[in-house]
Subunit: 116 residues, 2 copies
Amino acid sequence: MPVTELLPLTDVTACCAPLTREPLGAADAEALAKTLKALADPARLRLISMVAAHDGHEACVCDLIEPLGLSQPTVSHHLKILVDAGLLSRDKRGVWAYYALVPGALDAVAAVFATV
Amino acid sequence: MPVTELLPLTDVTACCAPLTREPLGAADAEALAKTLKALADPARLRLISMVAAHDGHEACVCDLIEPLGLSQPTVSHHLKILVDAGLLSRDKRGVWAYYALVPGALDAVAAVFATV
DNA sequence: CCCAGACATTGACAGTTGTCGATGTCTTGA
DNA sequence: TCAAGACATCGACAACTGTCAATGTCTGGG
């Protein structure tokens, strides 16, 4: 009898040791840049923030369109980018698609920039 | 008699409260995205990493061109973007331009993504 | 005064990105 | 079976980005 499993789609570590510890290899730099590109957009930052602040730490697309002020296709587009980057998860329940933060994903990004 | 001052060009705080605390305003999102766009490039991530790992925590352009494998104008271009974003500082001494990490700048970025 | 060298700036070009309207795909309820 | 609605995908377009070759600017040495 399988226990309900929550397999993270991506590793919790963003890619590499903290930036200031040792020179970044080309491959690690590429991977980290890909994650940061997903974050480096005002709409996507607000989406992450809105999802985190929502009840139950998840939100459906219909909750996000109006406060964000962008069209529905554009919101879906941004959400897809965040899911592909391993930052958000998507859970379709009935007609609605619920998006939630992937646990640890943001902490992994924070760890890369920590200098302590 | 003025003491030698080291005025940080940008505030140490990246822009705002941690992403997961409260929904991000449009203006804050724009500002944070600008900083992240500066970071979201493999060449620039490696430049930051190389500068941090270099002796004295600073490096001139000539130290960076060969290990990065890009042309000199391109390296100068990336360094300018990092300086404009408040992440690196530039200090021209004689013929050489020395780049160094702005203290606290990366920590401010890390703080935005910290979920503790 | 002029030359060499370190670095910045300019101009050009291909590739990527954010946005929207139109359309497609499912699911639910009647 | 059908219609409505939530969401995804597609196609198009303007704006932005990374890169290099060519050129400009400044500094130190002879």
